[in-house]
Structure formats: C-alpha cells, structure tokens
Amino acid sequence: MTPARAFRTTSVVSVLLLLCGGLSAAPQAGEAAEHTEAQEETLPPAVTEAQEDPIGEEITPREESGTVAGDAARLPQEAQPSFDGFVNFRTLSRWAEDAGDHDQDLYGVLGMNFSTGGDRPWAGHLLVQGAWGIDSQPADSVFYGVLDSYDDAVDLRLYRAYVDVPTPDAVALAQIGRMAIYDTPETAYFDGARIETTPVGETRFIVGAYGGQSVHLFEGWPSDEWIGGLYTRLRPWVHGLLRVDWMHFNDDLRFGDGNNDLVSANVTHRLGENVRLDGRYTLLDGDGNDMRLKGLWLWPEKDLTVRVTFYRLLDAQQNLAFELNPFFNILNTYYPYEQTQVVVSKGFGETVELYGGWNSRRVSNEDNIGRYNREFDRYYLNAVFPDLLPHHTTWSVTGEVWDSPDNDVQTWGQDFTTVWGDQVKTSFGTYYSLYKYLFDVNDERDNVRTYYAEVRKKVSKALDLKARYEYEDESLDSFHSIRLGVTWRF
C-alpha cells in the first residue's frame, strides 16, 4: 500500500467511525449532568387529557384506537383460499451506431401462488420465464449473450415449482419440487424435498433436512448431480440464536472428485433491540474453510444504521462443487484473503439520506496475488434528496471508486425521479464509468457514459406499464436501447 493510499484509506474509515461514535455520544454530551431547565424542555408536555389523579378513570387516548380488550386473541386461525400472481412481458431493442449490430429480444415471466385455505392448506408456487431471441446473435456480435449460446431462439426456464404439503403438528414445513433455500451456508437450489420440524421447548429447537437433484440452469437437465443437507437451530439463551448446518454436494467436475462436505456453525446474539452480533465458521471437507463476523447497530431515533463485516477465507479453493466455487473454470484458484466492510446509512429528517461504505480486501499471502486474486479498496457514497426539488422530485447522487493495483474503476451518476400524482413516475439521469486496467501488456483506459430516461405508469392496481430509453457512449462505439414492459397482477 502506498503512503497516499494508506492515508486515504485511514482518513475515510476514520471519518466514518468518528461519525458513528460522535453521533452515539452526542445525546450524552448534550444532556446536562443535573436535571435543569434544559432537561425539562426535552420532556414533552403532559398529556393534555390526562387526569390529575387517574384512579378509577379511564385514559382516553386508547379509546380512540377502538381497541376492545380480548378481541386480539379471538381472531380466526384458519387461512382463506387464495390465488395470486403476476405476468410480465418486456421487449428489448438495441443497436450499435458504428458496428451496425442490432438485437431484438422478447421476455415473459409468469409467477403464481395458490393456497387451498383451511386449517392445513396445500400451497403451490410457480415461477417461469420465457425468452425469444427474435434475431439471434453470432458469437462475435457486441450483443451476444448467454441465451444466444443455444440453438433454439426460444428459451424456457423453470425457476420455481414447488408445493407446500399439509403437515402434522410436529412438522412446520414440508415442500416438494424445485426450490431454493437461502439461509443455508451456500444457496441450495434443487429439485427435491425439504422438511422442517416445529419449534420445541424454551430453546425453540428445530431440525430440518433437504435434498435433491442440483439445479444448474445453464448446464442442462436432468443430471446426476445432487445436493443434500441437515440443519438445526435453537435459542440457547435469551436473544441468542445458534444454527449448525451440514451440506453435501455432488458435482460432475472435469477435474477433481466432485464430492464436498460443508459444515457450518452460526451464532447470533442481540444486545437489546438495536445491536446484533453474528459469527460464522465453516469447515470444508474437514478443514477450516472460512469465518465471518458481523455487527449491526441500529438507531431508529437517529435514523442511523452501521454495519461492520469481517470475512476471512482460510484455505485456497480449487476444484470444488459448483455451488462452492462457481468461478473456478474462469478465474482459477481462489486464494485465502480477508475482507473488511463498513456500511453506514444516515437520514437527516426528510431532507437527505446518506448511504456510504468502505470495502477492503487483502490477500493473506503476498505470493498469491495474481491476475484473479487481487487486493482492492472500494469506497462508495450515495446521497438521496427526497424532496429537495419541486414537483416531488427525488435527486440521488452516486459515487464509487475501486482502487486496485493495475485495475481502477470509478463510477459517478445522478438520477432525477419525479412522481406525478399516484400513477406516473418519471426518471432521467446519467451514469459515467472510467476503467483503467492492464490489458495483456498495455495500459488501457475506457470511459463509458450512459444517459437514460424512464416512465412508469400505474394504469390500475393490477396493471403497470414501463418504458425506458438508454444511450451509451463508450470508447469503441455508441449504443441505443429501448425497453418496454407491462406487468399484470392478479
């Protein structure tokens, strides 16, 4: 790290941390050590309708809410039958000014959820997308995309299709079909089944299991690859949460065994309502894999949130199941590193909201620094001014800097979004990116400027329309794109 970079890093982080510490200490510094007139001024006036001596008298404010004691506990338990979902169609038209390439695509997404209602309902969930490449692109086209890699112009993808099965009291959850589980150490996406027990006892102990054929959307179906796991979760102490996972992956790799076992232990503790601490440690095939520490501080009264995360990859990752190391074929070995992230968001009344952060990665062994294992510092700041401008216009400004040896990226942008009544929202803005990098043996410098305009109209509670135009000007060419979309909710 150069001296200038160290100074910049230290300064930014110091400002962020001092802001947090100062804001937390300000109320205490501002309040007198003895109750004084200032103390009384901070106390609101007594409730005007309060009684001098309320013995035997009812306090009226509660009456305004219309509460009737006991009603809350007598609401019906049974669910009602339901059927809802959405259909979305959108078109994408693009063309390049100099190269002359053009592209037309049409997409459709269907999402549906149903429930039979009753005391023990059946429920189902479906999410499917279709894409039609109206004019398919050759491999050397500037608009070539992953869907153009297939021979057929029409591509259908089933994202979710699973059923919630009615269960006895001891079972809280039973699902069959194509599903994704996100609270496991690695996302489990598979065609199979999942089951989870009802919380038991004071510790709210549960056990869950899942397994099935792995879903790799771009690898072909069916396959003989599979994924399975077990987990348990309990609250061993007040405001604490402990979760232990075991996952097994079976993947058909070109090199390597293709069988991996991941064990994870995650501990969470809440300090009061607004502080949350989280720690996770994982073992991969019996060896230490990674660890993560997170802290979250909330100050609702100050509209301030601070997140701090520390992550460390303990062992190099090479040929592993796709879910564990999805980029190995492209980016090669993933060497141990540690990464620190601080994110702060602060609102100042209705005037401005700030959201910024610092993200720093350092490779554990200098000898492992290479083309695909880099160190970097990333800084970003976003400011949103909700009603600074007339006509309910929100102005937001974004800045981001990636600072890495031989690879820098800077991005700046601003957006103006105006709400016209309850139905129309318009946005326009600009976005600038500067990429500086070492390409093969030469230094390259590319800048990209994007301008866009967008209109959204809520025709009714169920129907939305959207149109967006974008112009992109970069070093090699200029591009135009038009997106039109309609969404119907039922």
């Binding site: 510490g21 309320p54 809350a72 609401l75 999410l127 070539y144 709210r204 601070v306 959201y355 970069e474």
Partner: protein, 342 residues
C-alpha cells in the same frame, strides 16, 4: 506478463492497527451506549426502588388489573414515601416534582406504544408477578432505556410459545399488504439488499410477510445494476469480477452461468498476436496457477499442444516434474505438465 507489486508492508500493518483500534473504540462506545453504561442525566432507578427498597411493581403501578391501559405511577403513590424525603429538598430537585406535572406523570405517550398497536394489559397480566415476563430488564435498571421496551419480536416469540395468534392483525389496526413500512423510503431500492443479507430473524425484518420470493426474482430479472451496460457485458464485468467475484455471485448464483457464455463467446484477448508466431496466449494465461481456464473452451486440448508426447512409463502424475527436469523451457516453467503430457 503483468506483475503486481505491493509496497509498504509496515505502513499497511500500521494502518490496519490504527483502523482496528478506532473500530474497537467506536464499537465499545456504541455497545456501552446501548447497554446504558455511561454518563446520564438523573432518572428513575428501578434498581433502587425495587431491589434495594424491596418495593413491588404494584406498589406504584396500580390499576393495571382494572384497565387495558398501562399503569403509570400516580403522584400520591410516590408521595407515600417522598412526602417526607422531599420535604427538606430543594423544590427543583424533588423527584416527585420532577416526574409529575399537575399531578400527572410526564411521558410522551401514555401507552408507550404507537396508537396503531392493539394491546391489553388485562389480557396479558394474570397475577402480581406477571410483570417480569415482559419487563424483566426494567427491574434492575438505574435508568429506563429505549432498548428495554418490549419488542415486536418478544411479543411474537411469546405468542408462539403460548400457542396464540401471530398474524399481523392480532396486534395491528392498520396493516395492509400495500402499505409499505417506513423503512421503504426513497433509498430502499439501494438499501434493501443489505437488509436482506443481514439475515435478521426478527419478525419486523421478515420480507416474506408481504413479499413472495417471486417478487424478488422477477424484479432482479428485469432491473439490472446501473453499471450493467454494453461495455460491462463485453469487458467491464471481467475487470470487476477478477477483483471481487463474490459480488457477482449475489445475482449470478447459478454456478454455470459464466461457463455457458465463455464456452461460446470469443474472449477479447484472442485477437492479433494471440496465436502463432508471437503466441501471446502463453504469456496472457500462463501464470503460477493451474491452467483450467483454457480447457473451458478448448475441451479437446489445446490444438498445438495435442502434439505433446505422453510421459514415460513410471512417471507419477502427482510428482513435481521440476525435481528432475530442473530447467524447463516453457512459459509456465513446469506448473502444468499434466495438461498436455498425459
């Protein structure tokens, strides 16, 4: 071949130590503030009154059994003791005078709850000791802090344990699926990802109360990050991915997504001097890492490398060839012999 240089190792260590020290000190301030440790203005001490003076909750908080309303103390309850204590005290410093105005307890909201919340003490408190089930944190406190308030999660947990209803309408008057929480403000488009990845188990942070999973998937399918433009697709994504591949995985969780495109799309490097006779492809790819990435496309083996002779019998494929072949005139210096000589 690009050579990445790091300098200033000692400066880096010093910077890290300074940052860690500042982070720890600030974290300490934040935690202590939450726990109520630190300088504070004079406040009512439940510890003194309950633990030391052995008062019962109902000695001051009377009337809870007669009403839905929270039973704030009454002036005459305090004056039972303080009439004597305060007689000699400075009028401005008399606790009873400080906490009451015109005989009524000075608070922001008599209930301490938003008026939109439905709550009944009558339904919840069945005996004199029932107060501790919800307000245990208050009993030993020297100052009632905001974090001691009963949280929504506490309510939900207790309702679940008691087998009571936990639907939104159980406690809320005005919950509707199309009324967004206050957190969903102008910056929520950018902030919601962090909130989701926090992994909070609090009910108030449970997105599935209002949103189906399809909501997330459909929006993310349609709305890409602003920097995902044409340059991003052709070159930009690679520059960012080689710095931070984990960020890509947030959306492109399908592990085979990258492979599919890269097996058919020609990399930008494969132009000009890439092939013979300059053979820049050697210099461009061969590093000290195993060369699997070539095989992503050249699955039958690199064309010219197919001429490489196999290893002699008895050569263990796991051995390091450089132990015997001390000088290897090859761009990778013997890191990848098995790829071709097999």
């Amino acid at each position: 071949m690009a050579i990445l240089v790091r300098t200033g190792g000692k400066r880096r260590v010093a910077s890290r130590l300074l940052l860690a020290l500042m982070a720890l000190s600030s974290a300490g301030c934040l935690v202590f503030d939450q726990l109520g440790w630190g300088p504070s203005h004079p406040t009512f001490s439940h510890r003194f009154h309950v633990a030391d003076q052995e008062l019962e909750c109902i000695d001051c908080h009377t009337g809870y059994e007669e009403s839905d309303q929270v039973a704030y103390p009454r002036l005459k309850s305090c004056m039972l003791c303080h009439a004597d204590f305060d007689e000699e005290a400075d009028p401005a410093a008399r606790p009873a005078a400080f906490y009451f105005e015109d005989g009524s307890y000075r608070v922001t909201n008599p209930e301490g709850l938003d008026l939109e919340i439905k709550f009944s003490h009558l339904e919840h408190v069945t005996d004199e000791d029932g107060c501790l089930d919800c307000h245990a944190d208050v009993v030993n406190s020297r100052e009632v802090k905001p974090w001691m308030a009963v949280s929504m999660q506490d309510c939900v947990d207790c309702h679940e344990a008691q087998g009571e209803a936990t639907t939104c309408a159980t406690c809320h008057n005005e919950v509707e699926i199309d009324i967004a929480p206050r957190t969903h403000d102008a910056s929520w488009d950018r902030m919601h990802g962090l909130a989701v990845r926090d992994g909070s188990d609090r009910t108030v942070d449970n997105c599935s109360i209002c949103h189906e999973e399809s909501t997330c998937v459909s929006c993310h399918e349609e709305t890409m990050p602003q920097n995902h433009n044409n340059f991003w697709r052709s070159r930009g994504h690679g520059l960012t991915a080689r710095m931070d591949r984990d960020t890509c995985a947030v959306c492109h969780g399908g592990p085979d997504y990258c492979d599919r495109c890269h097996t058919t799309a020609t990399p930008l490097t494969h132009t000009g001097l890439w092939a013979a006779p300059r053979n820049n492809h050697c210099l461009g790819c061969h590093t000290d890492e195993p060369q699997q990435s070539c095989y992503l496309c050249h699955q039958s083996g690199a064309p010219s490398h197919a001429l490489a002779p196999p290893k002699p019998v008895g050569h263990d494929p796991l051995s390091d060839c450089r132990e015997c072949h001390t000088f290897i005139s090859h761009a990778d210096n013997g890191d990848d012999c098995n790829i071709c000589h097999n």
